[in-house]
Amino acid sequence: MRALEHLIQQKGVPGVVEMVPSYSALLVYYDPLVVGYDALCASVTAVTRELDTAVLPPARVVELPCCYDDPELAFDLEAAAVKLGLEPPELVRLHAEATYHVYFIGFTPGLPYLMLPERLRIPRLDTPRTALPPGSVGLGGGQCCVYSVESPGGFWIIGRTPLRLYDPEVSDPVLLQPGDTVRFRPIDRRTFGEIAAAVAEHTYRPVIT
């Protein structure tokens, strides 16, 4: 889907206004007063023939500091570990060792869709919580979620990042992009507080390579 989106962008297919990728579909918004539905479908179909040879731009690696070792921030860590039959430190190690591909961004502004390593797959909570703080890092089903704004959610919260994945106060409000690679770096509560303070003052520079 990313490759198709990239190709459509590069070719400048007429009438295409914006696109939203997901795992198995690419939503294309078009201006029907510029291009007809059938003509658009023909253009997109033509582009799909070049998919095999498409070259995507290289992925950025974005580091998300994450505090796992505080029961106030990581309030489901113990319970999730029990559910998975792991010791909490083992769960943290597995989560922080993995690399995560950002498949797409959505649901709320800046929220990335990441796939979990097999061993950390866990059924979602039976009763979703009504309000999770932004930055909460959760596990649910096959996905890892980092909440970008306060929102309801049914994920097990195992940590929190002090970074803002969505910050309407800055000119580029969304931190992550589809195609990025995300790594979580374990931090203690004190470091969490320091980074959070720097983020609030807009002096923190995320580590992006």
Partner: protein, 338 residues
């Protein structure tokens, strides 16, 4: 120039222009008016820019106020011309009834009140020059979920003072203009909303697709600019392929998370179809039986809780024709001098 002081915000009143398309892939919905036609005409009546096409345009035009149901009270701070369109919320100026769908001169000190919904759900208040609030990503549209646009990214509340840009045309020239009578919409308590079936209608039992199109659905009170929920019979799903059960979740309505077009109709658990509207999410994990055509999103926005909706399937071609007709109708040529 300060033009309006909010005395009471009412149920939910937000500053809106045509919206901010282009950011859906970052999870930011386009926002904009729940009823494109009504805001467009309100702007035209007072000489403002009605903006470019809904959901896909690049020019959001001037901003007005979308007023949900009732309760907004504002004091006019400078002589100007206003227009109220959309729902009839029994508006008054200094306790005198205020006609809708026409431009009206008002004086500094006058108090406008939206009392109660008599027809429709959302009224639009435009002021000559347009509301002057900072833009975010090129648009003034309020998005309360992303905290951007309008006044501090929230609904209006008592104490807010709104500025307007200078009027683009002389006030004397604007007063008394109105929408041609034949074009003034009639809002009843029964609506027909056109849909294109899909993208996942094939996951539902064919009988349930028929039920969806034949039933008189009632709008639930738990509806807003994100989603409008309809109460009626349960819709049933076909037995699902193994990969969906494994990857998507235990409920038969679950799909692998997928994009949601504006107007997409999710049916979580098969109960209460939800039309995702202009502030709705861009992605979600529930099957969508159909998608409301862009031209009829305004009908959804004008439906009051408890009122009845019948969904009618049309082709993509008909949907495009309807959109063209809607956009063409927001035209200076459709105004007349009273």
């Amino acid at each position: 120039m300060n033009v309006l002081e909010v005395l009471a915000g009412g149920v939910s009143s937000t500053v809106q222009d045509v919206g901010r398309p282009g950011y859906l892939a970052t999870g930011m919905p386009a926002s904009g008016p729940a009823d494109r036609f009504a805001l467009g005409i309100a702007n035209l009546l007072v000489g403002n820019d009605p903006g470019e096409r809904y959901l896909v345009g690049r020019r959001p035009g001037d901003a007005g106020i979308e007023v949900l149901l009732s309760g907004l009270r504002v004091r006019v701070l400078a002589d100007t011309v206003i227009a109220i369109t959309g729902a009839d919320l029994a508006p008054t100026v200094d306790d005198r009834p205020l006609p809708v769908w026409r431009a009206i001169a008002v004086s500094a000190g006058a108090v406008l009140v939206f009392h109660q919904a008599r027809a429709g759900a959302r009224a639009y208040l435009a002021v000559a020059g347009g509301i002057d609030v900072p833009t975010f990503a090129g648009s003034r549209a309020t998005n309360v979920r992303a905290f951007v646009g309008g006044v501090d990214g929230r609904a209006l509340k008592a104490g807010d003072v709104l500025r307007a840009f200078p009027p683009k045309r002389g006030l004397a020239e604007l007063g008394g203009r109105r929408l041609r009578r034949a074009l003034v919409p009639v809002y009843g308590d029964r609506w027909t909303v056109r849909v294109v079936l899909g993208p996942q209608d094939d996951l539902f039992l064919p009988e349930s697709v028929q039920t969806f199109l034949a039933y008189d659905w009632r709008l639930s009170p738990t509806s807003d600019r994100m989603g409008c929920r309809y109460v009626g019979p349960t819709l049933e799903f076909k037995p699902r392929p193994a990969y969906l059960v494994e990857q998507a979740g235990s409920d038969p309505s679950n799909i692998v998370d997928d994009t949601i077009p504006v107007g997409g109709i999710q049916v979580p658990g098969g109960v209460e179809p939800i039309v995702l509207h202009v502030d709705g999410p861009s992605l979600g994990g529930y099957a969508k039986i159909a998608t409301v055509i862009s031209a009829d999103l305004g009908k959804v926005g004008q439906t009051r809780p408890g009122h009845v909706t019948r969904f009618q399937a049309v082709s993509t071609g008909e949907a495009v024709d309807a959109l063209r007709e809607l956009e063409d109708s927001i035209s200076e040529a459709n105004l007349e001098k009273a």
